[in-house]
Amino acid sequence: MPKRTDLKKILIIGSGPIIISQACEFDYSGAQAVKALKEEGYEVVLINSNPATIMTDPGLADRTYIEPITPECVIKVIERERPDALLPTLGGQTGLNTAIRVAETGILEQYGVEMLAADIDVIRKAEGREEFRDAMKRIGLNVPESAIVHTLDEAMAAGEEIGFPIIVRPSFTLGGTGGGVAYNRRELQELCTAGLDLSMTTEIMLERSLLGWKEYELEVMRDKNDNVVIICSIENFDAMGVHTGDSITVAPAQTLSDREYQQMRDAAIAIIREIGVETGGSNVQFAVNPADGELMVIEMNPRVSRSSALASKATGFPIAKIAAKLAIGYTLDEIKNDITRETYAAFEPTIDYCVVKIPRWTFEKFPEADDLLTTAMKSVGETMAIGRTFKEAFQKGMRSLETGRMGFGFDGREDMTALDPDDLEIGLTRPSSRRIAFLFEALRRGMDIGRINELSHIDPWFLHNLRQIVDKGEEIRQRGFAGLDPEFLFEVKQYGFSDVQLAWLTGTSEDDIRDLRVKNDLVPAYKLVDTCAAEFESYTPYYYSAYEQEDEARISDRKKIMILGGGPNRIGQGIEFDYCCVHASFALREIGVESIMVNSNPETVSTDYDTSDKLYFEPLTREDVLNIIEREKPDGVIVQFGGQTPLNLAVPLASRGVPIIGTPPDAIDRAEDRKRFQQFLQKLGLRQPDNDTAHTLEEALAAAEKIGYPVVMRPSYVLGGRDMRIVYNEEGIREFMAIPGMAGTEHPVLLDQFLKDAIEVDVDAVSDGRITVIGGIMEHIEEAGIHSGDSACVLPPHTLSPAMVEEISRATRAMAEELGVVGLMNVQFAVKGEDLYVLEVNPRASRTVPFVSKATGVPLAKIATKVMMGMSLAELGFTGEKEVHHWAVKEAVFPFDRFENVDTLLGPEMKSTGEVMGIDDTLGLAMAKSQQAAGQELPQSGNVFISVRGDDKDAVAPVAEKLVHLGFHILATRGTARRLEELGIECTRVNKISQGRPHILDKVQDGEVQWIINTSSGKRTTEDSYTIRRAALDFHIPYTTTISGAFSMAQGIMALRKQEIGVKTVQEFSKDID
């Protein structure tokens, strides 16, 4: 049956901002689906609030709404567009939940919109706990028993039903405290008594514990003829109890015999049929008891997912693309397999390599958070590695993580030899981001595999393979450099050892090993990912490296450029950089140059085999990248788009004679080296905040005295705001210098004058070496001192004078010219009064490039790529700044709700995971949209609780006044209330928690607080203020931790009073740009 012709226009809901558990995999899936539907001739309407996505590029969907993904906005889009169908399965949980809420309003029936792929009953059946369990029972499958109880008696009765061990989880506790595992009745009683007490809703959830069971996932696809295929099986390295997103995972399943695998396959097929997913992909998770093979169903997601993206990259089978085609009526046997061209999508990929995915955590950003992995996901990104063996893939994965590790141990980066044996056992028992290091140490010490398995529940098969790596490492050490004969060297490279590891183990340098390898012709072979284990010829150049006999790389004689991607997502380096890399690839295609992408992030569009002419799925280390360069011999390499990862490779690659195109690496150094940067600014007559360096506490104190408090302090060797602090007094300096590694090292500590209450400004510009054009000037909403990635910003600037805007433009051009920028440049300025300060210059793509591109309709990254290829801006027709007649507001999105004990205050260290854009004709509405899109509901009435630090008491008054004027009632703690009353603003005093009950928390729990404005002096001064912020988070009450943020919220609320939110496409907005 061919595609449906009764449908013309299809609406797709995206997944919104990048958050933990919902990242750029949905951009990958969404972009694929949009492309697939357009190819088939459908008109595609898209709603997604995330400007950093490829899917929201104006050229992709026909009509693109960068609007909040709320039921209200989706309904408005439906009313405006009258689509024939809605495809809800591409936007993650957000897309699915929003679709359900939209469907519940009856609007779909009203306008005759058909829900494709999975209707509302299917979604409910898959997502509802009870409904899912009943469905599984009907088809004879087991799920772990669970119950929600409200009294101890209920708990004890339910406990009997469920069977021990039981996980006890109190609902709604502050910071998720309480709970645990009960192994018997007595423990159950204890835990439940405490849990009921802790829970604000006197509710606890009990669940059969499958701790230590093995965990598997299958990716299933079904078409409307009820053909069902399994795309990929995945085995988790970490046992049950660790969220699959936080687990190292391996494809295909390793320790299942065929009989067990087929049993699981049968179950997955029965599940997709029983749940009733009509077409598309689903992910089913299973647990298997290692002792007897008992099978339990954990959950099923009736949509594309993180795992489906991983499975697509792991097998070469594009699940989202096929899912989109199935949704419009094709069957699997009608869709060609892109890779083989002669076979069809109705088959099951078979792979002839091993895939390892390793999560990337950023606990270092949240030092208060417990580094403990549980059933709630905490990682912000992941990396994937492909090898011919598990050992090879695992070691490649370790060095893809961008944590400075060069493999599984043996890199001199960490010494745990002094670790207490008891602590080692604890480290093995507790799942954490550090457990891999403990595993290495345990194996190095020769701990018995059985014992490690007992403690960690990691399957012995994995442990044996890791042991082989460790044993081989020791053998390398014993043999030394002289013992690295070609045969042995080849063997250890097959074990995945990096040159850096070999150098460390043999006391030589990376280059010594490299030279030895090259001399012996020991270079990696490149193998194809082809869905079929070489059974058929394949045409898609998707490669991975392996030390093997036969190399399959097909090297062209075309002009070619290599683009280095950004590796795994982490806070500070996310989808924005992938967006830029993808645009570079598109630009190269437009000018007929072969594009070669190198990246290790399976979630992204850049690692879609469709994006570039060639894809190398490889770690972004010097060794791995050089290997590809030596094979491909590209005419140039682009390092300025993928964020810090490729930038760090610029100098090491250039020193090997690799042609880096665009801005010369020396310009990067000039902007990053403190001394050279100072001279550079002085030469141009530009000002920077007073600054100094210090090696010791005494020097730091003297420097701070000279600069004047407050000062911004940070170590000189890290970027991205890590360990950056604003210090207000001598005590703060002493605390900072007492942090291990700050004082007395060769790297000085940096001190900068803190420009209090200054306005920060971000500028993105592009230069061809002749002229420089400003792409966009963004005025931050939050004051200087808050990391630019965490600050909301407005384009065009909303309070700066035209004269200041002109000065900013002039300074930007002068700096681009002086540095010799060819390509993109980002500058961060601070404006204090009439003075302009330069904070930072980055001659590379910035986080704001996609936002600026979406807001102004100018594809900056594409233009920059062409400029780097030697075209002039004049040729490209981009010689003057665009003037926009609308407002675009970028707002950051934070992962605080994922981490217990973490404060929500913002500071110089970046904490946000993603961003949204609000775009409208008025600033107020753009702000309102940005808040809604970020998940902050704008209250329209009720009580606003205000508690601010001393300095802010006057500043908050105008906000309070405005709110009173809008009919809100103000609640305030004593100090704030006193000041507000003095200023004639009516408010009600509320007790702090320490002042006795009823206090503010009681009001929060009773639903009497609709918005919390709370500022604090930068660290956790009082428990009270922290508890209030945390309560806001836990009870999903809108909260604001800066005065400027409160202002913009109030402005948004005002705007909504005047006017209802409307929706408009970016294509329409770009029409009004001059």
């Binding site: 065929d258 069957t331 069809y344 088959f347 078979t350 002839d352």
Partner: protein
């Protein structure tokens, strides 16, 4: 221990033995199943062959007593990328290496199996010699070329049962009617017997050369033609036997049994370039339009153009369009080229055993 592999096209590759010294001569083929190596090894259809697995890590879950498809290992050597000597699975009773050694079968690791697979894909299944003793590449290639090969040879004689026996069911088939089935053993996989038995069949397994009259004398409700190794055209006398059984009793054939039916109908078979061996082959049931993912292991195939008009093609391979299933339009006989009994592989095609029961019901 070093191993050298010589192919008839002149390719020489080296690897390591993980089972000690040994030597093997045979036809080299690849299998793309990611699991199920024990079933592959014990499948009699591999008699005379050397098997390489495209999945690189083999041995992961060991071997056990339950996943046997016959009582012995049939390939003459087993080639993998990396042998896993520390199995992890609750059912494992032994390592793969021990299992191979028990049957004196050479296990080889450390070879670029993807390269080998690509060679086979491009050159076709080839004659091959593997040895730990003869480490002279030229000699191996020469000896591979000298070997007679499988075409036209009767490989069934070496694997069929010597005497008839009744299959002892490992699982009761329920309280329904029992069917009396005679199964020709051309190299039968035990899971065919298990699945028949579970559906209420009492199966008597007979040698490949059993005359038709003897089979009919057992008064069966149905006759089953099993899978088996090698070239169907090489199996002596069997085609005639089967032809004389046509129309007498319902017949169901699998793999070699299907090819023999094809020959009995008057059709012809031909050798595929490199065969279908794996668990992911899509087959379209032309009677329903549905696609099933199937387990396959065959190097020869029935030529659909050679079949008389009274034979209906019921299944085709979606990848290459080759014939995968057929039935007689008038007489109660049907067959498939692939393995509905799986083991290893997906269970999608088990319904064919139900069709056989239905056919016996209709005819009975």
């Amino acid at each position: 221990m070093k191993v050298l592999i010589g192919l008839e096209d002149g390719t020489v590759m080296s690897g390591r033995s993980f089972t000690g010294p040994g030597e093997a001569v045979g036809e080299i083929v690849f299998n793309t199943s990611m699991s199920g190596y024990q079933e592959v090894l014990t499948d009699p259809s591999y008699a005379g062959q050397l098997v390489t697995m495209t999945y690189p890590l083999i041995g992961n879950y060991g071997v056990n007593d339950e996943d046997m498809e016959s009582s012995a290992i049939h390939p003459r050597a087993f080639l993998v990328r990396e042998y896993q000597g520390m199995p992890s699975n609750h059912r494992a009773t032994s390592t793969l290496a021990d299992f191979l050694r028990r049957f004196d079968i050479l296990g080889v690791e450390g070879i670029d199996t993807r390269m080998l697979t690509r060679i086979i894909r491009n050159q076709g299944a080839m004659k091959c010699v593997i040895s730990t003793r003869d480490l002279d590449g030229e000699s191996l290639v020469r000896r591979a070329r000298e070997w007679s090969g499988l075409v036209g040879r009767d490989m069934v004689a070496g694997v069929t049962t010597e005497a008839p026996f009744d299959w002892q069911p490992d699982q009761c088939g329920g309280a329904g009617r029992r069917w009396r089935v005679v199964a020709y053993d051309f190299g039968i996989k035990w899971n065919q017997l298990r699945l028949l038995s579970r559906r209420g069949c009492d199966v008597r397994v007979v040698p490949a050369t059993t005359p038709a009259e003897e089979v009919l004398a057992l008064a069966p409700d149905g006759i089953f033609l099993s899978n088996g190794p090698g070239d169907p055209a090489g199996v002596a006398g069997v085609v005639e036997n089967v032809r004389s059984l046509l129309g007498k009793k319902p017949i169901f054939g699998i793999c070699l049994g299907h090819q023999i039916l094809g020959l009995a109908y008057g059709g012809a078979t031909y050798k595929l370039k490199f065969g279908h061996r794996g668990g992911n082959q899509p087959v379209k049931d032309l009677t329903t339009g549905r696609v099933e993912i199937t387990s396959q292991n065959h190097g020869f195939c029935v030529d659909p153009d050679s079949l008389p008009s009274w034979i209906e093609v019921t299944h085709i391979n979606l990848n290459d369009g080759s014939l995968e299933g057929m039935r007689h339009r008038e007489l109660p006989a049907f067959s498939v080229q692939y393995h509905p009994e799986h083991a290893p592989g997906p269970h999608d095609a088990e319904y064919l055993f139900d069709r056989f029961i239905d056919l016996m019901q209709e005819q009975g």
